[in-house]
Symmetry: D2
C-alpha cells in the first residue's frame, strides 16, 4: 500500500528528519521525498510517498501523525492512499475539444478518476456524453436563474460525491457559492497566457496586439476572474500569416494539453496552493 | 547585385504580376517572393528579392518603379541593395549581457552592420566598449536634463549617420523627440512576455503572479511604453523552485536571444509595420 | 471558387510572372503565393491560391495550364479546388490515443475530410469506431498471410475511393505493394525524434540513452523503414525522474499533436516532396 | 556556511532519515533535499544542502560522515562548501561564439568559476583571450604529435590546478589519456540532437535528412565519441527555407545556451553520473 502525504507549515529545522523518522516507526519506507522552502514567506512544503508492506490503518496513522507532528509543526497536511479514485465532474458549454480529450484519456486508462457526470448550460454536447456512456445534466444558466441553477449544480455535486470539478471551456463565471464548497478543487482552462488577455475573447485581443506567441493557462478557480493560482501553462508560436480563426485552431491544441496536464497533476496530488500560487511537485 | 524590395499597399488584383513583370523588364530575376494579405485591413504586403547580372542604376530603377508602379498601386515601398551595411547605435545602461551578445555576434561576422558607437547614461559599461574597440559616449540623463541629453544624443546620431538604434537594456524612456526622428527604427528588448507585465520590474511581477512561463519581447519603440509593434518573442519555463533572482538569470538568456533575433530581422529587411503590428517575412 | 496550384520544376527565370499572368488571363485573382528555390538541387517550388468569381471549368483550365505552362517549364504540378473533401482511411492497431484524436477533430469539423473506414489487424478498437459511427474492418496480418491481407486492404481502399492513408500507430510495416499505389499518400507517426531511435521500442531506447528530450515524427511512408520525407516533428523535455512508462505517456501527447498537424498540412495541400524531403508551405 | 552533499548508493530503507539525523547532530539545518531512486538499477541518489551557523570543520565532518554513514550504506559521495570557486579550463578551436558566451557570463559574475587559461590548437582566438585578459596557450595538435600535445595539456592542467574542462567547440577528439585524469569532468558541446547525427558535420547531415527540428547536446566526454552521459539538450525549429548555413547560424545560439546551462549545472554540483546517464537535480 502506498501513501502520499502533502505538508505545508512554517519553516523550521527538523521537519524532514521528524517526518521520515515517524514513517520509519510506522514500518513504512520512504520511496519519494520532495521539499521546497518559500524563503520570502517562510513556508516549508513537502510531498512524501511511502510504502507499507503490512496493511495500514489509515485512521490510526492520521491520528498519530496529527498528534505527534502536525500540531508541533503547525502543519496543514493531508494523506492519500493510492486505492481511492477521485470523482471528477466535467462542466462544459458548446466546445467539444477539451471534453473529447478528457474522455478519451479516461477511456484509455490514462486518467485515474471516475467521472460521475458531465454538466452543461447547453444541450450541444449531450451526444459526446452518450458516445462515452456518461450521464449528462443540462442546467441552463441565465442572469435571472443563476443562483437557482448553482443550487441544482451543488445538489448534483453532493449527490454524486464529486471531489473536484473541471471546467472544460465552461464559458460561465462560477460564483463563490460553488467555489466555497470546492476551494482549490475547481480547475479552469483559460485560452490565453495569463495574466495577458484575461477575460473574454483572448484570441481576438492577442491578434489585435500582434503577439508572436499565444498560450493557454490552467488554474484553480477563485473569486477573482482568471486570477487564481496557476497550475500549468504552455504556448505556441503564431505569425502575421495567422488569422483569429487560426489562433483559435492552434489554441485548441494548447487548451487540450494544458488542461489535461493540470488535471493529471491534481489527481496525482502533486499540487499545493499558497499565497495564490502553486507548488507543483515533480 | 541583389535588390530587396518591400511594399505595402491597398490590396487589389494584379500587384504580383505587375511587379514581377517590371523586374523582368529591368533585366532582373526574382529569386524570392513572399506576400501577405491582411484581409481585415485590406492591405497587401510583399517582400521580393531579385538579382541583376548587370550593374543596376538604383536611382533610375527607383524613379521608374515609382512612376510605373508605386503611384498606380498607392504603394508605400523601399528598395535596398545588399552592398550597404546599416549603421547601428547601441544604447545601454548598466547590464552587460545584451551588449556582450551583440558585440560578439558583430565580431564573429554574424551581424552585418557597422556600430559607430555605444551610448549610455552610466559609465559602467565603458570597459566593454573598450574590449571591442568601439567609441563609448557617456551622456547622463536626469529628470532635469532629459531634453538636453536627448539633444546631445540626436547630434551624435546625426553626426555618425546612424540608421537605427538598439536599446540593449537601456532602462530609460525614450521621448518622442528621438522616436520621431527614428520611426520604427528603435528596437527595444522588454524583459517580459508582453502585454503581460509591461513597465518596471516585470520579473518581480511574474514571480508574484506565480506564472509557469516567463518571456521576453523585442519591439519597435513608440510613444506608448512597451506597446509598440512586436518583432519577436520567446519564453522559457519556470517553477516554484525559482526565485526572482533565478527568473532574472533565466531571463537574461531570453533577452539576449530575442533581441539579437529582432536585430537580425531588421537588418535583413524582413520586417514591415502596419497598424502597430509587424509582418515578419521568412 | 478557390483553386490551389502546387508546382515544382527546374528553376529558371520568369516562372512566377508567367503563372500569375496566366491566372489573370483566366480571370482569376491570386490571393496567396509562396515560393521556394532549392539552390543545391536547382528546383523551384510554388504554392499559389487564386479566386475565380465566375464558375471555373477545371478541366479546361488544367488543359490550358498544361499546354501553355507545364510543358514549357517542365513542371510537376497539380490543381485542387476547395470543394472536394479528400477520403482518408485510418489504419490502427491497439493504441487508441491517435485514433481518438483524429476522430474528435473530425467530429468537431476541424478536419475537412471524409473517413470511409478504419482498418485494423486487431479487434481492440472496434468500439471506438462504433462510438463515432464509422465502419471498421478487421483484417488480421500474420507473416504468412501478409500479402493476401494487403490485397484485401487494397481492395477496400479502391472500393471506397480512398485518397490517402493515415497510420495512427498501426504497428505493422506496410509493403511496397501498398506504398506503390499510394506514393506520398501514406502518413505515419513514429514515436521518436527521427533519425534518432528508428525502428522498434524507441521510448525504451531513448530511456536507455538518457536523453533529456524526446520527440515524435510524422512522415510519408517509403520503402525504407522510418526514413521517408519528414512532414512534422515536435519534442518535449524529460528528466531522470521519468520512467519508460512516463516517456510513453508524455509521448502520447506528442504523437497525437504531430500526427494531426501532418494530416492537416496534407489535407490543406501544403506539402510537396522532393529528394526525400518535404517543402511545407505556410 | 553552506554544504552541498551528493550521494549515490544501493537503495534501501532509512537513508534519508539517517543522513538528516546526522546533519542535525552536527548542528546543521537541512535547507534543500532532493532524492531520486532508479528502480531498475536499484540505486538511490540524493543531493542535500545544509547550513551551519558555526564554522564547520570540513575534514572532521567528512571523516565522521564516512565512518557513520558512507560505509554502512556503501555510498559514493562527496561534500562541497560554497566557498571554493572551481577552476575551469576552456579548450577552443576556431569558432568564437561559445567562448564569447562563457567569457561574458564569467565577466558578468553569472558563472562562479575561475578561468586559469584558454587552450587551443589554433591561434585564431587568442585575440578573444586578450580582450578578457585571460592566458591563452597555443598547443597545435596533429596526428603525429597528438600524444605529446596531450602531455603538454596535462602539464598545464595540473600546474594550474584545473578542476574541470569545457570543450567550447574544440573540434578535436580527446584521448583516454586526458579523459582518465578528468573523469566526468570534461564537458563537450555537440551540435546535434544526440544520438542523431553523432560525429562530423551534423548540420549537413540534418539538412540532408530534411528534419524539421535541430538540436545541440552537452555531455560528459567518455571514450566513445559523442556517447557520454547527456547533461543538457535543446532544440529549435527549421524548415525547407533554411540552408545549411542557416542551420549553422541557428545552431550557434543553441550551442551557446546548452553549453552554458551544462556548465552551470556542473558548477552548482547538480549533476551525478550513473550507467552512462545523468541525474540532474533541480
Amino acid at each position: 500500500m502506498k501513501l502520499t502525504i502533502l505538508i505545508n507549515c512554517p519553516d523550521q529545522s527538523g521537519i524532514i528528519r521528524s517526518v521520515t523518522t515517524f514513517i520509519h516507526q510506522q514500518k513504512g519506507n520512504v520511496v519519494y521525498l520532495d521539499q521546497h522552502v518559500d524563503k520570502q514567506a517562510g513556508v516549508f512544503f513537502m510531498r512524501l510517498k511511502s510504502e507499507f508492506e503490512q496493511e495500514l490503518d489509515l485512521y490510526k496513522f492520521k491520528e498519530d501523525f496529527a498528534k505527534e507532528l502536525a500540531t508541533k509543526f503547525h502543519m496543514e497536511w493531508d494523506a492519500y492512499t493510492d486505492v481511492y479514485r477521485p470523482k471528477m465532474a466535467i462542466f462544459v458549454s458548446k466546445y467539444n475539444h477539451c471534453l473529447y480529450d478528457l474522455l478519451s484519456r479516461y477511456n484509455s486508462g490514462e486518467l485515474s478518476v471516475d467521472i460521475p457526470f458531465i454538466l452543461s448550460n447547453h444541450k450541444d454536447l449531450e451526444y459526446v456524453a452518450e458516445q462515452f456512456g456518461i450521464p449528462y445534466f443540462y442546467i441552463p444558466v441565465t442572469k435571472e436563474n443563476k443562483s437557482e441553477a448553482e443550487d441544482k449544480q451543488l445538489e448534483l455535486l453532493e449527490q454524486y460525491g464529486v471531489d473536484f470539478i473541471v471546467l472544460a471551456r465552461y464559458m460561465q463565471i462560477v460564483s463563490p457559492k460553488v467555489i466555497d464548497v470546492f476551494p482549490q478543487k475547481i480547475i479552469n482552462i483559460h485560452h490565453s497566457f495569463l495574466p495577458a488577455f484575461a477575460g473574454a475573447k483572448p484570441y481576438h485581443a492577442a491578434f489585435k496586439r500582434g503577439v508572436k506567441i499565444i498560450g493557454a493557462t490552467s488554474h484553480y478557480v477563485t473569486e477573482n476572474l482568471d486570477a487564481g493560482p496557476i497550475i500549468e501553462q504552455d504556448v505556441t508560436t503564431v505569425s502575421h500569416t495567422h488569422s483569429v480563426k487560426d489562433f483559435i485552431a492552434k489554441g485548441r491544441d494548447l487548451e487540450r494539453i494544458v488542461l489535461s496536464r493540470a488535471v493529471q497533476l491534481h489527481v496525482a496530488r502533486k499540487t499545493m496552493v499558497y499565497n495564490n500560487k502553486t507548488v507543483i511537485f515533480s
